[in-house]
């Protein structure tokens, strides 16, 4: 009979289920037989729901047939064992109907669940990015076509395998992968991935795998997130991978070009500085040689222009390395302390409350704090206290640098971060440029005569609280 084909299944999973249903059926029928022969026709019949529900859930296509067979068995048992009276016949037929009904309902719901799971599997299967998933025990539950192509490992070879079998496919060694950090956060696993970023509920990192593409190697961007059930419990994790080799190569080429341009700019800067030094010398001699006020005025104007060129050279020198190194996670407390150490704050009291905050920014970020402290402590009158805090907002995290003292006049605020020659120099302009590389914004929102307040807004994906 077709129904027993399942008994011949080669899948150990299926065999275990069939054996479980068989045992449950034998026990339930046995209990009912003993009960009926002892005159008990109620309560014990409920035991038959166990194999009916199991069969309907595990084998939904045969659930209805199975529950019908159980119902027939039950009815036959009653008919052959007990003297039939109208009440017993009605109650037995009712129970039989319920067996069939329950079996049918469970089979229907299970079929719908299977269809939903199947749809999800198909979505994963045809995702353009290599994607795989594991359950809470670390066993592979999904392995799509794209990951088959990337690793050369077929789904049939790896499905239901645990013990970091998926890592073997990528790294040629059994070790935790990024999605294991979702299941079991662990510093050792974290150390295997550089620059792990948290983007919403995802963990994102980049890795280089030398053995792929015939030994040429590939740069991969890996993103992992949790699989959760309706109660919010983590039931597994899913990892999606994207080949970013071309992007990395482009970035590397740009960095090389930038480095060469820097070298050329450095040579040009040096030559201009030398010529400028010569010009200063000639102008100084001119001041001594001529006493005609008109000529002296003319020389002074030339000197001003020369100083303007010198300032441009200074800015260019300070700007030369900005943006040449990739952004990195920066502990804010250390960056602020570095800036303070470099600047020296005299009698000003500083209190920094950013112990747990890290931001993803250009490595020159400490210079931003330096220029802000320079503008507030050195350039603003009456500052005795500086407080550095952070504030989590809907659109990110703001680092706030607040001082007492005179504050900054409203007329100056508007051009504070532009390139200017007078007070505040070009430091805040550079601070603004450094921030903008990583999508960070900076503004001054203090109240004149009450103090300064610099707000550095970090985008949501660019900060973490450790």
């Amino acid at each position: 009979m077709k129904i027993f084909h399942v008994f011949n299944s080669s899948s150990p999973f299926t065999r275990t289920r069939v054996i479980t249903i068989t045992i449950a059926t034998i026990i339930a029928l046995g209990i009912n037989f003993v009960g009926i022969t002892s005159g008990i026709t109620t309560v014990l019949s409920h035991a038959l729901y166990i194999p009916i529900i199991l069969a309907g859930y595990w084998f939904p296509r045969r659930g209805l047939l199975f529950s019908t067979i159980i119902a027939v068995f039950y009815g036959t048992l009653i008919a052959y064992t007990l003297p039939l009276d109208p009440l017993l016949i009605v109650s037995t037929l009712s129970r039989m109907a319920f067996f069939v009904l329950i079996g049918g309902v469970v089979a229907f719901l299970s079929t719908k669940l299977r269809e939903s799971e199947q749809q999800l599997h198909e979505i994963i299967e045809f995702l353009p990015y290599p994607t795989f998933a594991v359950n809470r025990n670390g066993e592979v539950i999904a392995w799509n076509q794209a990951v088959e192509e990337l690793t050369g490992v077929k789904k049939a070879e790896i499905l239901n395998k645990g013990d970091y079998a998926y890592s073997l496919a990528f790294y040629d060694i059994k070790r935790p992968a990024l999605l294991d950090l979702i299941l079991t956060p662990n510093p050792e696993t974290q150390a295997l991935y550089p620059l792990i970023k948290k983007e919403g509920k995802k963990l994102v990192s980049e890795v280089f795998i030398p053995r792929f593409k015939g030994g040429k190697g590939v740069h991969l961007r890996v993103a992992a997130t949790a699989l959760v059930d309706s109660s919010g419990n983590i039931t597994g994790a899913i990892e999606s991978i994207r080949d970013i080799t071309e992007q990395v190569m482009t970035a590397s080429a740009l960095q090389n070009t930038s480095s060469r341009l820097n070298t050329i700019a450095g040579i040009v800067r040096h030559d201009i500085s030398r010529k400028l030094a010569g010009l200063y010398g000639i102008l100084s001699i001119g001041v001594m040689k001529f006493d005609d006020p008109e000529v002296l005025f003319f020389i002074e104007a030339l000197k001003d222009s020369a100083q303007g060129i010198q300032r441009q050279i200074d800015i260019s020198r300070e700007f030369k390395d900005i943006g040449t190194s990739p952004p990195t996670w920066i502990p804010v407390q250390n960056a602020v302390l570095d800036a303070i150490k470099r600047l020296g704050v005299g009698g000003v009291t500083l209190r920094i409350w950013t112990e747990r905050l890290e931001i993803f920014a250009d490595p020159h970020m400490p210079a931003v704090f330096f220029y802000i402290f320079d503008a507030t402590i050195k350039e603003t009158e009456g500052v005795t206290t500086v407080v550095v805090t952070y504030h989590i907002q809907k659109n990110g995290c703001a680092i706030l640098i607040e001082t007492d003292g005179a504050g900054i006049e409203k007329s100056i605020k508007e051009s504070l971060f532009t390139q200017r020659e007078e007070r505040y120099g070009h430091g805040l302009f550079l601070a603004h440029e450094i921030c903008s590389i990583s999508g960070i914004t900076i503004k001054e929102t203090g109240t004149p005569k009450k103090g300064t307040r610099f707000e550095i807004l970090i985008p949501s994906e660019g900060y973490r609280i450790l």
Binding site: L350, E355, T447
Partner: protein, 177 residues
């Protein structure tokens, strides 16, 4: 990290903890005292200290904990917990042997300064309302508390006065307040 001499400008006298009212203004802080926020890996040290304070435990995902250290030892704690609808200040505790030295005031001042960008709510023990008022808190009606913070004392059935508890609020702000 803010050491005692750094803090001198605004908080050099002793304060009380929850069981020791502010009657210690004449007591000077002695020894090397450091006030700072705890890192996540230090939360367990706070949990140990809080064993005698309703067995309170910290959660790095929602809490900022500020500790006063005397050497390596935590001598006072204060916590600011982020709720979906507001910030709740609690866990202000100084072990009995370290009281009457002003540590509590240091911990609360640190918390208030570090978290001053948000409105801060708290349920103060009534005889400490004056102490918290020094930090900018003022009494409010229970209904003003955000719902998730109000839930903490739902057992009092709206009779916080009977429970000897006063809801308080500190509006966001630093120097100007």
């Amino acid at each position: 990290m803010n050491e005692q001499d750094t803090l001198r400008t605004h908080q050099n006298t002793g304060a009380s903890d929850s069981g020791d009212p502010a009657q210690t203004d004449d007591i000077q802080i002695m020894g090397k005292i450091v006030v700072r926020e705890l890192r996540t890996d230090e939360f367990s040290a706070a949990d140990r200290c809080w064993v005698d304070y309703h067995e309170t435990t910290g959660d790095p995902a929602t809490d900022r904990i500020f500790a006063v250290f005397s050497g390596d030892m935590i001598v006072s704690l204060a916590r600011c917990r982020r709720h979906p609808d507001g910030m709740d200040v609690d866990g202000i505790f100084t072990p009995a042997e370290h009281r009457r030295k002003g540590y509590s005031r240091l911990a609360v001042s640190a918390l208030v300064e570090a978290c001053h960008n948000d409105d801060l709510y708290m349920h103060a023990v009534r005889h400490l309302v004056g102490f918290y008022a020094e930090q900018g808190f003022f009494p409010i009606e229970e209904k003003v508390l955000p719902p998730t913070i109000r839930e903490r004392y739902v057992w009092a059935g709206g009779n916080l006065e009977g429970a000897e508890v006063q809801p308080m609020l500190r509006k966001a702000g630093l120097f100007s307040d």
